[in-house]
């Protein structure tokens, strides 16, 4: 009966109820939309970083990270690959790369870049170069003198497809080695930095450049998309165990991207603070509305008490009223928020106007909101719990009215 009473009570003043419901609805919807946008933004940052030849797991010589030199390459590449295939699931993809610092030059210009020797086919789905939009043609797996360069670099060097570039680097024996390459294709990266930082050649060409055979400075592993971060940690541990005899370092992407990992750790706290701030803004409204509803029914509460209703029951009834308000507002807000998010999820939000800014932070130009069930749950929980908490105040007020005092009121 109390439930029914509470439900009917909130509709005694439909306009007032509608207004406070709107406040809650906008608040909850804003929480959900914003959480989805921020998740999308951060997710884009992580994806970009992983796609930038980081991968989920990486195997390198222990000294390679601090000193990326060909002398810090992996020694038994085939052995490592075989060992990895034993522990990793079948859906995992592996590729080896040679990545070394070098200098690229033509008649007019020279620049320091990173030379990347790749298996072009296996890069598809593993790093951005596999699927980057390209003018000209990609290089093949055994291309001896083909090279891919970024659009920004091509512009700086005033060069184009079919032209020659000289690549210089330090060979495995310590001598400097130079080779001429012909530009096969010009790729467009998500960011200008990547277009200027890397040039790509085939693995056999890279091996010839550094005078090494069956060599690699890293083996990268890309796991299935749905792999959770807990599973990833387990795989990293497994790889470490199985690669013990090879004296190599195994990193998960969180080890390789410490700054982003730290940001991710703070992200949830940021979101919670924002939720609470929005709640406070509507909290005043909730208290006020319930308080008004209580005060204009003073006589009624007095009467109820006079005929023997216990204060606890009154508290329950008032709390029930605000629980209904909160639940309706939350449900509407969740629904509305999800609707807006789904709309944006189709088109994405284009931050092209700030492209230099997004680039600086490694974000994508287009943000696709990501709906996370946890965020929705937390947003609703914050509003419901804190909402009930602040409703205690008007409820206790209502319970304290004494029959005699209230009967006097007109």
């Amino acid at each position: 009966m109390y439930t029914q009473l509470a439900w009917r009570n909130i509709w005694r003043n439909p306009r007032r109820t509608a207004i406070i419901l709107t406040a809650i609805l906008i608040g909850v919807a804003a929480m959900i939309i914003l959480a989805a946008l921020m998740r999308g933004m951060v997710g884009g940052m992580v994806d970009n970083a992983i796609n930038n030849m980081v991968g989920h797991i990486k195997v390198q010589h222990p000294d390679y990270r601090s000193d990326p030199d060909i002398s810090h390459g992996l020694s038994d590449v085939d052995g490592i690959l075989k060992a990895l295939k034993i522990v990793l699931p079948e859906s995992a993809r592996l590729t080896r790369r040679i990545r070394i610092d070098g200098v690229v030059s033509n008649a007019r210009e020279s620049a320091g870049i990173e030379i990347v020797g790749i298996n072009p086919k296996s890069e598809i789905g593993m790093s951005f170069i596999g699927t980057a939009p390209m003018e000209g043609s990609p290089i093949t797996d055994s291309d001896k003198n083909g090279i891919l360069i970024g659009a920004a670099l091509a512009k700086k060097f005033q060069t184009g497809i079919g032209k020659k570039l000289v690549v210089t680097t330090q060979r495995g024996d310590g001598e400097s080695g130079s080779r001429a390459f012909r530009i096969r294709g010009i790729f467009h990266g998500d960011m200008e930095v990547t277009e200027k930082a890397y040039i790509f050649i085939s693995l056999p060409a890279a091996e010839r450049l550094v005078h090494e055979k069956e060599s690699a400075t890293e083996i990268a592993v890309t796991l299935a998309r749905e792999t959770s971060s807990k599973e990833l940690t387990e795989f990293v541990m497994l790889c470490r165990a199985v690669l013990k005899p090879f004296n190599v370092s195994v990193y998960g992407w969180k080890d390789l991207l410490p700054a982003i990992t730290a940001y991710l750790a703070m992200f949830d706290v940021f979101l919670l603070i924002w939720f609470v701030v929005i709640f406070i803004a509507m909290g005043f409204g909730i208290v006020n509305t319930v308080l008004m509803a209580v005060y204009e029914r003073m006589r009624e509460f007095g009467l109820l008490k006079a005929i023997g209703m216990r204060p606890g029951r009154i508290i329950r009834m008032v709390m029930g009223e605000s629980l209904f308000l909160l639940m309706l507002g939350c449900a509407g807000g969740t629904f509305f928020g999800l609707g807006v998010t789904c709309y944006f999820a189709k088109t994405g939000i284009d931050l092209g106007a700030f492209s230099k800014g997004t680039e600086m932070w490694g974000m994508s130009r287009i943000i696709l909101p990501v709906i996370n069930a946890g965020d929705i749950l937390i947003a609703n929980a914050v509003v419901l719990l804190l909402g009930l908490l602040v409703s205690i105040y008007p409820a206790v007020k209502a319970a304290r009215f004494t029959p005699v005092e209230t009967m006097r009121q007109s």
Binding site: I20, A259, M292
Partner: protein, 407 residues
């Protein structure tokens, strides 16, 4: 009784309700004052960090050098330009620089690096690299043929303080430039892109090595007030001495910084917009109730000859009193909060690493300014006024006879 005291007394007919409404407004005002101060403060420290690490506020370069840095595109007479800049009101310090790409090799390693020729005494005054030396010393005029090397680069070159490096590049006239230099110091800025590829040497050495004949690539200026950047740039661009050259400010030099600030600001504005809307709906009920519970009273007042216009006026005064008190309280608490944290700083905890990549320290300091103090409260004031207008405008539609019948 005049309208003002009528409105004021009306507010206190329901002290609890009025105070809650004021608190809602005050909370929003406080939050906006603090958050805007925080955002502006962090933008300023971002800009300062970037400006003092390398770019300076203003640079004078050859036309087109910024997009396409060519060895031969120079500022031919740096002396005259530096004199001109130093004498300009608002310019704090000026320093010349030249830079080019060279191959640096140690005993065992070769790397391509960007070498910058600097004037150590002038750099020390304002730029941060001299204070970021981790090993050895910063450059000195008394120690020619030395260089300082970024920490990551030093590791990749397998070199250290006191060891020798061979530099090989192309000089101004196209001939080959080669020299042997000693590493005098190792610096670590925390920004990988800088630490990985940069070395600095004396500008005089640079001049000899690359046969610059006194020419430099940029003249960098630090100015007193960040806000003076644009007017100073405009004034300098008109100067006949600088006509053949390009004057660039930090926005031209680091467009990513400006845009990420804008992006953050737009994101903030959307958040505050949502917050204000939620607050508006939160308090709309109070304003509505204030009208509806007094329908009878209004009926009586109209019947005895009060004009509806006057009733609306009193109503609006009432809500504006509440808004005013709320906003004032919010501004005071917001300002106090800001002042406190502008001394104590706010630790960014886990994001410190990320921020170091952009040259910022792990502590951010909000900065109270007239703008951050007034913008938020003004918007809240306007929105609450509109919110109050909606119920108040219902009053003229009341018919005295019907209104008096209302309960």
């Amino acid at each position: 009784m005049n309208d003002l005291s009528l409105a004021w007394r009306n507010i206190w007919r329901h002290p609890r309700r009025s105070i809650l409404t004021m608190m809602a407004i005050g909370f929003a005002a406080m939050l906006l004052v603090f958050m805007l101060s925080f955002q502006f403060g962090s933008y300023e420290s971002m800009i300062n960090a970037s400006v003092k690490l390398a770019t300076g506020h203003l640079q004078v370069q050859g036309k087109g050098y910024n997009t396409k840095p060519e060895m031969r595109n120079v500022v031919p007479t740096p002396k005259a330009i530096m004199d001109k800049l130093s004498k300009t009101q608002g310019v704090d310090s000026v320093t010349p620089r030249a830079q080019t790409f060279v191959l640096a090799s140690s005993d065992t390693r070769i790397r391509g690096v960007l070498v910058t020729g600097v004037d150590p005494e002038r750099e020390k005054e304002v730029f941060t690299i001299p204070s970021l030396i981790r090993n050895g010393d910063y450059l000195s005029d008394k120690a020619p043929n030395t260089v300082i090397v970024g920490a990551l680069l030093a590791k990749r070159l397998n070199t250290g303080v006191g060891k020798e490096l061979t530099l090989l590049g192309q000089s101004f006239d196209g001939s080959i430039a080669a020299t042997v230099v000693t590493v005098r110091g190792i610096f670590k800025s925390g920004i990988d892109a800088v630490d990985r590829a940069a070395i600095q040497m004396l500008l005089t050495d640079f001049d000899d090595l690359f046969v610059m004949n006194g020419a430099v690539h940029t003249v960098v200026a630090i100015i007193d007030e960040l806000s003076q950047t644009a007017p100073l740039k405009a004034a300098l661009e008109k100067d006949p001495l600088l006509k053949p050259l390009a004057v660039l400010d930090w926005i031209d030099l680091t467009p990513g910084l400006k845009q990420s600030i804008q992006m953050d600001l737009v994101g903030g504005i959307i958040m505050y917009g949502i917050l204000i809307i939620v607050v508006a709906f939160s308090i709309l009920n109070t304003f509505l109730m204030a009208v509806f519970e007094r329908t009878r009273e209004f009926g009586v007042m109209m019947a005895i000859g009060t004009t509806p216009r006057r009733l609306v006026k009193v109503m609006l005064m009432e809500s504006m009193f509440m808004t005013g008190v709320g906003i004032l309280a919010g501004m005071v608490t917001g300002a106090l909060l800001t002042v406190y944290f502008s001394h104590a700083g706010i630790s960014m905890g886990g994001a410190t690493d990320l921020m170091a990549q952009y040259g910022m320290s792990g502590r951010l300091y909000p900065r109270l300014s007239l703008l951050s103090l007034l913008v938020g409260p003004t918007i809240i004031g306007v929105v609450t006024f509109l919110t109050a207008l909606f119920p108040a405008l219902k009053i003229p539609h009341l018919k005295p006879v019907d209104a008096m019948k209302a309960v």
